[in-house]
Symmetry: C2
């Protein structure tokens, strides 16, 4: 680590790295972005990225400006909750975080960016597709499609409840909202409860006639 | 109807009306916006709005630039499908429309506007909350919260499948995707299958101690 990169002020450098990371995550996806490739684009020494962010996942989280690390939350829920209560706990976590005045406001701003802008969408895709969904599926021992389906329900719920904010959901207490959706989430995340093939699914349509 | 409004060229007038409608739907919501109030804001004769749009719902649809009228689609499904196959048909309709190269592209553009921009979000809220969800719930005889929950799942699905586009869903055939989520949708939309109180739900938390 003898060769030092260029060094402007620390907070300026950090911003420069974050900007480069956002661009690369959006363009190359999560897998093909590395601390080293971001360091090169930001024209700083790779050691600085380790210093500021530690891991690629942390850099990604900071680039997304997420108030919570979804994987950290999942891990905590997975280890701290009996499996038959997991879906309930997950739904409760989602509802309370998105309804939280501080964390929720930051998440909603992030969601608006993510859904409103194609670059931000591909950044989210990379992380969901290659990191979050596979890890989650393997930890729960259910097909990845089931995790994606459960996530789609939770994401849609936060959208209708906190971003669009229809009265039919916002008028429910946290507990009633959790009770409403937890059975559907549970169905997706309970092993063996809904057999979905893990094989590639692209079907050939039978030719008619 | 003797008093005529100002009359620029027809397509210019239509655009002027659409712009005024978008503003009003976003600011006042769906219920408090009328053909007459939009005509006043656009400074045209109310008769022109009847001529161009017929009804407030059509004006709303044109203001949203939707390629399909959700209520029209629902009505067709409700009348043409046996009740025990309705959830399946609804999921199939959602998946095929959003995956359609032409209609889907327009819907995705609309979704990006809706989720990305606070004004567009309140425009969507008004219509969902006061028109679509109540009508849908009453046609199906299920609580409005159940319709909102089912919609949230479908909306989240199109988001993950066609807007974010995670591989775990995009790799599924239409039929496999429908088979994956239809049971959850069915559960929300089958009367009596999931009792959820229709009364206002805001709970008072019991004081501890």
């Amino acid at each position: 680590m003898a060769k030092a990169g260029r060094r402007p002020g620390p907070s300026q450098t950090r911003e420069q790295i974050i900007r480069a990371a956002r661009e690369q995550f959006a363009e190359r996806g999560y897998t093909r972005t590395t601390l080293r490739s971001v360091a090169a684009a930001a024209q700083v020494h790779p050691g600085l990225l380790h210093h500021y962010f530690g891991t690629k996942q942390q850099l990604y989280r900071d680039a997304l400006d997420l108030p919570v690390d979804p994987w950290e939350v999942l891990t905590r829920l997975l280890t701290g909750t009996p499996r038959d209560q997991f879906a309930d706990a997950l739904a409760r976590q989602f509802v309370s975080t998105w309804r939280d005045p501080i964390a929720g406001a930051r998440l909603r701003a992030m969601a608006r960016r993510t859904y409103g802008d194609a670059d931000a969408t591909s950044m989210a895709r990379a992380h969901l597709e290659t990191v979050l969904i596979p890890r989650f599926a393997s930890a729960l021992d259910v097909p990845e499609a089931n995790v994606a389906a459960a996530l789609s329900h939770l994401i849609g719920l936060t959208l209708l409840d906190t971003l669009i904010g229809v009265d039919q959901l916002t008028s429910l207490s946290d507990e009633d909202l959790v009770a409403l959706i937890a059975p559907a989430i549970s169905r997706y995340l309970t092993p063996g409860r809904q057999p979905v093939s893990r094989a590639p699914h692209r079907q050939h349509r039978p030719s008619s006639g």
